[in-house]
Symmetry: C2
Subunit: 115 residues, 2 copies
């Protein structure tokens, strides 16, 4: 009954980067926020509403999973660790393929006008 990754596409930019960030390993919300920011040279700053809203949604969709919390003492509220699920990983791969296809079409020499 495995869901079709295509059903989740296209991803919006913030969702794409959240999944991409988790593809590098377990992470909690705020760490995702900071990683996306540095990965994009400060260009993409996820708002709190976007970040935590997406985490809730992606959990419900089964694209990410909770991990046992990391208990090393740190400032702030208790961290909640997440990772990609198999499904989430498949969706991310599918999205990357979609983007590659889009780009290869976009770079195509100008076709004859069909009209």
């Amino acid at each position: 009954m495995a869901l079709d990754p295509q059903d989740f596409l296209p991803l919006r930019e913030p969702t794409f980067f959240i999944l991409l960030s988790l593809a590098n390993g377990r992470k909690h919300g705020y760490a995702i926020l900071k990683e996306v920011e540095s990965l994009s040279n400060g260009k993409i700053v996820l708002s709190n509403g976007t970040l935590y809203g997406a985490l809730t949604r992606l959990m419900e969709q089964g694209l990410i999973e909770r991990l046992p919390d990391d208990e090393t003492p740190a400032p702030g509220l208790p961290r909640k660790a997440y990772c990609l699920s198999q499904n989430g990983s498949a969706v991310l791969d599918a999205e990357i393929s979609r983007l590659e296809n889009m780009l290869s079409r976009a770079r195509l020499p100008v076709a004859e006008e069909t009209q």
Copy 2:
């Protein structure tokens, strides 16, 4: 006072394909619909609401322009021809660059966990 193309990004998938289709030359709405469909091997079928809503919006944003109508007799309601504006062309280019950057980051070898 030229607007910054970045202000229009990211484009959603339908909008991207509408602009891309117009980059190949003047076209009316229904022709865009059909071209996007064939370009994507039938995978992307714009809904009417999306298509005509986007055309109205893109006109207001100055990313596309109306052209004098093509008067060769044809079935259906009178055709309305559109083309990319200079701004629209710049936005499309900027979006393609954004996608390329995103993809090159996505293909990067797994970075060390920062957490």
